[in-house]
């Protein structure tokens, strides 16, 4: 079943379908569709929201919390990107929360690219100005930042694996950039 929206009879066209990039040291692949919510809330609502989501919303900058297929990524002091790669609609879980918040479905606004391998860090650092050394950007670290000329959300999912979220129409640029950068992913 296609994730990120309720089932429909219509064909879903994914922006990066069929693309793959990288080579020996790095693999670049489009991620599967997912449910995504842009969540905004103040501290007093976090308890209720966390309960509804079944995970503790992180409050530490540059961090994330994952439970099962669901992750909350800290983007700002009152802002999270929620991603669920399973088949549970985040919006439905949040619909019942009364505490003051804003939840907006952005499942299809974003698309994601998975960059992995020994050369992943070097590939991303071709366009991302942040320090991605493990000590500075550990597993689970998340940051909105830039890649070349676009904005991305960068999430380190493993020592050698990253998930890059970007807006749909920038995904072609992001994918092409990463593929080009991977040519020089000498670690």
């Amino acid at each position: 079943m296609a994730k990120g929206t309720a089932p429909t009879p219509m064909k879903r066209t994914l922006p990066l379908s069929g693309r793959h990039g990288g080579g020996g040291l790095v693999s670049i692949l489009p991620a599967e569709p997912a449910f995504r919510i842009a969540l905004r809330a103040r501290p007093d609502a976090l308890g209720a929201l966390s309960r509804a989501l079944g995970l503790e919303l992180p409050v530490k900058p540059k961090s994330s919390v994952t439970t099962g297929t669901r992750t909350a990524l800290w983007l700002g002091p009152d802002e999270w990107l929620l991603i669920d790669t399973g088949d549970k609609d985040l919006a439905a879980d949040l619909a019942k929360v009364k505490a003051l918040h804003s939840a907006v479905d952005v499942s299809q606004r974003n698309t994601a690219i998975l960059v992995s391998g020994l050369g992943a860090e070097a590939t991303i650092n071709a366009g991302c100005p942040q320090d991605l050394a493990l000590a500075a950007f550990p597993i689970g670290a998340v940051s909105r930042t830039v890649l070349g000329k676009i904005e991305i959300v960068l999430w380190r999912t493993g020592e050698y694996s990253f998930r890059i979220e970007c807006w749909r129409s920038f995904s072609d640029y992001a994918f092409t950039f990463l593929s080009e950068a991977a040519r020089d992913a000498v670690v």
């Binding site: 900058p61 540059k62 700002g76 802002e79 100005p129 930042t145 830039v146």
Partner: protein, 119 residues
């Protein structure tokens, strides 16, 4: 490319994640509709533009998205401190004193040992 401490992300980030947003602590009148002509023009257009320490606004637009304020020396471009939007401007004297303490020593590691041979 400057390195800017974001008070919300609690770390230094590269300038290209940020957008400068002009002089800080300009007060938009609570009764702006009836504000006097000169006062409004001053609010809209007149700027301190100092050669030296300036309080200015930045937005971590490609980061946490927050607006915040910075105290920066416009001669060295060194950012002396940053603080969250809505917080009062910190005491300049202590900011400057602290900057003084953390400034590069200005001294070479050792005095060079000069040889005396000369033309």
């Amino acid at each position: 490319m400057l390195l800017i401490h974001c008070p919300y992300c609690e770390e230094e980030r590269p300038e290209i994640e940020f957008r400068h947003a002009g002089e800080a602590h300009l007060v938009r009148s609570s009764d702006i509709a009836t504000q006097g002509e000169l006062e409004f023009a001053a609010y809209l257009y007149l700027r301190q533009n100092p050669k030296g320490v300036v309080a200015e606004r930045w937005r971590h637009i490609h980061g946490c998205g927050r607006f915040f304020n910075a105290i920066r020396d416009t001669v060295s471009d060194r950012i002396l401190t940053t603080y969250k939007a809505g917080e009062p401007m910190p005491d300049l004297d202590s900011v400057l004193a602290n900057a003084e303490n953390t400034a590069p020593s200005g001294k070479p590691l050792m005095q060079p040992v000069a040889s005396k041979s000369k033309a």
